[in-house]
Symmetry: C2
Subunit: 220 residues, 2 copies
């Protein structure tokens, strides 16, 4: 199956790889072509320019986001919805972490991508809000309605810039799965002060689950 990738797909796949490894900004179309052993001209046959490549990668990302993060269906288990949400966040953050490492820069160079991004983000905000409301309804957290949107934004900001934060704190250390899980853990900690007494143990268990995956790495 892998052998049957068309050049176009190989370019996309190699791009994600290189972007994640050394950062989107540092990777040029020449690098991508060289990495694949094809000519720059060939790359330009398949894509108009580098932005075009990034945009298509984002499309793939957005598609995954949509399929993986479903709105909570039944009110039965809000905490399960949260967990599945966190898993999805982790997966996407890891798979496309180059994107998270320099988001403002990437967006500022491509108005079209900006549009797409903002559209996706509106959906994300709605879903986060929905999860929060479900958690409140299930009496897992106790929060005033007017604070929900703010908390949702805080969560979104934390998720969006967790990788960037890591890079500012320890630029030499490569991003690995454990460090991404640390971000998931931090999100959980934003909830903690809102947790009801009865939900405390369940949240603690979730916390331990992700703590195990995050390893014992400590921030500098």
């Amino acid at each position: 199956m892998e052998k049957k990738l068309r050049t176009k797909d190989k370019i996309l796949q190699a791009s994600v790889e290189l972007f994640n490894q050394v950062g989107e900004r540092q990777v040029t179309t020449n690098h991508i072509a060289a990495h694949l052993g094809i000519s720059p001209g060939n790359l330009y046959y398949h894509f108009r320019n580098k932005e075009d490549i990034v945009r298509q990668i984002f499309k793939e990302y957005a598609k995954l986001l949509e399929t993986r993060i479903k709105p909570p269906t039944d009110k039965a288990e809000a905490l399960d919805a949260l967990a599945s949400y966190l898993d999805a966040v982790f997966e996407l953050m890891w798979r496309f972490h180059f994107f998270y490492a320099n988001l403002p820069d990437i967006l500022s160079r491509d108005p079209a991508l900006q549009q797409d991004y903002q559209h996706v983000q509106q959906g994300v905000l709605a879903r986060v809000t929905a999860v929060l409301k479900a958690l409140k309804q299930s009496e897992i957290i106790q929060i005033e309605d007017e604070d929900i949107t703010d908390l949702a934004h805080s969560i979104k900001l934390l998720v969006t810039f967790w990788i960037s934060y890591l890079k500012t704190q320890a630029p030499d250390k490569d991003i690995d799965q454990a460090s991404v899980y640390q971000g998931v853990l931090k999100v959980l900690l934003l909830f903690k002060p809102y947790a009801t007494a009865q939900a405390q143990p369940r949240i603690s268990r979730l916390q331990q689950h992700y703590a195990a995956l995050a390893g014992d790495a400590t921030l500098v």
Copy 2:
């Protein structure tokens, strides 16, 4: 007084101006020189390269940070210490917002700056932690000791990337003072769930204070 600026200082001052206006990445040494009506060669007489300029600007920033954010002296008024801290954060965020708009990118291009930054950040973390402990001691917030460091990191992350977050949400809107104050307000909201019942009204007042400064702008 202004007229007596030496060329070197004029370059620094113009650089900050341009960086804030259009972003550090887009501004070249040529732009800076042209903006001042001097030759590129002249600029290179005063600075080795652009990184050198950015580094010196950071030094100025770090100096201000140190003089403006003093560790809380007496335990008498922890909440005052917090307020003065928030004011200082605002001032620096506003004055050097180009720096906050693309931190990972700027740092990744200059290992020397990275070093300086990390050193400064260690001090910041210590001070935030000290303020949090003082707030706990004054019974303004209620928090477990083991959570303090995590909260400090969350606050630091929020402050560091607030401008970046704004830019991802609404890239076309220019950063103004009100939008920076919205970030200050968000920091305050991170505290809210930890506030003791007795401190609630005082925190609310602080909140209103910054809300007024932040205007009624709403996030997209």
